[in-house]
């Protein structure tokens, strides 16, 4: 479709020609898998990024026209780095919105460093990273796991069973959880990992039944997570000790995008995130909202300085509060992590009902400000026999 020049609005930041705005074309990379075991999450992110691109392109007052350069790694961790390299080699894009798993993010970082590129990462992750070529737009542990545990321990108890898919998200989340459980005076009753995509959960269910935890921390992803929730619902039907009211499954990455795959099996369980979709909702999930906000913030800085590199972005982060569809957002210039709301939601009938909400929680990716006494109150006294 030919691009027609439009009358130039005041302060739109676009190039002007005879009083008409010429939107500046900027290519940006989109690196989300269109198939595979975590496709629902990936699709949600992609929808958010593409919606933001469409909205910015349709906004006559915005100086940029964003052109997506899309690649599909098909949920294969080894393809992210090569496809990211391909984006940099075959286009002028230096910004990429993409990656779902931490595995793929870590694979992509060397390519970003080499090309001077930047990844806008719209998923929750396990923390303990602050690369200046990555902007972390979803929650890190002080914005998901720590507040979720602080909510759960006083209500259900401190003894946890830890589950994860067998890669860095599960390993690191469960490592932090082990420390938190110890600080809360509880015990880790089990820690088990499944290969990504594995759906045989019978042994896990047997172990949960045998150990009777106070809660289950679910760091399984995709189809493994759906299979576990389905089998756990059957267990709860047999023994009310495993109903969501008595022993909830708690997650830091479960959103509305996956509720259709989970169905009734999720009801009553808990998740935490920076956004849960109200009804009616602007966005279907926090992944979508966060990917949308990523493109908004990127375009905001690039509309003022189209050549901005990591140094200019860092300066912009230090000086600017961004108005996004997630609400006003600050990005910490030291760590490039977003300040976000922390919302705990309980799965209801196809949506999350908000259980608690804290606004503007500053990121602390290395948990360097974590204080067990503030998180769990006075240390619990234990009976010493």
């Amino acid at each position: 479709m030919p691009r027609m020049p439009r009358p130039c609005g005041a302060g739109c930041g676009a190039l002007s020609f005879l009083g008409f705005c010429l939107k500046r074309r900027i290519e940006i990379g989109i690196l989300y898998s269109r198939s595979g075991s975590y496709q629902l999450v990936s699709d949600a992110c992609r929808v958010g990024a593409m919606r933001a691109i469409a909205d910015i392109n349709a906004d006559r007052d915005h100086g940029l026209e964003l052109v997506p350069v899309e690649r599909d790694p098909q949920s294969n961790a080894d393809r992210y780095a090569t496809l990211c390299e391909d984006i940099f080699r075959t286009s002028s894009a230096r910004h990429v919105v993409g990656c779902v798993t931490s595995w793929s993010r870590k694979e992509t970082i060397p390519v970003l460093e080499k090309a001077g590129g930047m990844l806008w990462y719209a998923c929750p992750y396990e923390g303990f990273e602050a690369n200046e070529h990555v902007v972390y737009m979803h929650a890190c542990p002080n914005q998901h796991l720590v507040p979720l545990m602080a909510h759960v321990v006083p209500r259900f108890g401190a003894n946890g069973f830890l589950l994860g898919s067998n890669y860095i998200w599960g390993w690191e989340m469960n490592r932090v959880a082990r420390d938190l459980i110890a600080d809360a005076g509880g015990k880790v009753l089990g820690e088990r990992y499944l290969r990504i995509g594995e759906t045989d959960v019978s042994r896990l269910i047997g172990e949960v039944r045998a150990t009777r935890p106070s809660f289950i921390l679910n760091n399984l992803i995709g189809t493994s997570s759906y299979a576990f929730l389905a089998a756990y619902r059957d267990l709860g039907a047999e023994d009310p000790a495993f109903s969501p009211q008595n022993c909830p499954v708690i997650s830091c990455n479960l959103t509305e995008g996956e509720l259709p795959a989970i169905g009734e099996n999720g009801r009553g369980h808990l998740s935490v995130g920076p956004y849960f979709a109200p009804r009616p909702a602007a966005f279907a999930s926090s992944f979508e909202a966060s990917a949308y906000a990523s493109v908004q913030v990127m375009a905001d800085v690039l509309s003022r300085d189209p050549q901005a590199g990591p140094a200019e972005f860092s300066k912009a982060f230090a000086e600017t509060r961004f108005s996004t569809r997630l609400g006003p957002i600050a990005i910490d210039a030291h760590t490039q992590h977003a300040t976000l709301p922390v919302i705990i939601g309980r799965i209801a009938d196809g949506y999350f009902e908000v259980v608690s909400r804290q606004d503007e929680v500053a990121p602390d990716p290395y948990l360097s400000r974590y204080d067990p006494a503030k998180t769990f109150g006075r240390p619990r006294l234990r009976v010493v026999s």
């Binding site: 460093e113 303990f128 690369n131 200046e132 082990r178 420390d179 030291h334 990716p365 290395y366 360097s368």
Partner: protein, 210 residues
Amino acid sequence: MTRIPRIPNLGGAKAFVLHRPHPTVQAITRQLSAIGLVTVDCWPELLPEVLAADFVFFDADLGFDEQFPWKPGEAPMPLVALIGSEAPGRIEWALSHKADAQLLKPVGNAGVYSALLIARQSFEARKHLAGEIAALRQRVAERQTIVRAVAALSKGTDDGRAYAQLRSLAMSWQISVEDAARRIVAMTSQDVADDDTTSEEGGSDQSHRA
């Protein structure tokens, strides 16, 4: 089950970076501040406050002994060597300071966190080992005391039974065998001294009597 020691929280820890002003210092400072540490840059000398630092990063390329307020190898905190040139002499010098971890220059976007954790762990392990070796050396040095204590307790009869008695005394006093031996030797010397005094007095008595 032995629990793996947890990853320490480094929030609020203080790191000194001994390096001339350079992009390397900025890269390290950026990472340290993201991890939650407070950074102090110094060159060419370390400030007196360095003695209270939790970590010291030092330049292995241009560094020299006089920069440090301690003898080579005796730093009271973990050290991280910043190595640019891999000249053997410079590595040898960095080794003489017993660096607990290293970072290769140019420093990029990562590496500082693992260097901190590795330096801290190996420093603690080294300190623990040094303490253990010092304690063992002290015990070895007490071998003669143990022989003397056993001799004193056996009074020329059964050495095996005397050693068992020494151990049982150590247990009932709740001290080490070496400390118990030292106590017995001291008591025996005291007895001997008392006997000597008595015998001297006795001698003089006898002389009086004579």
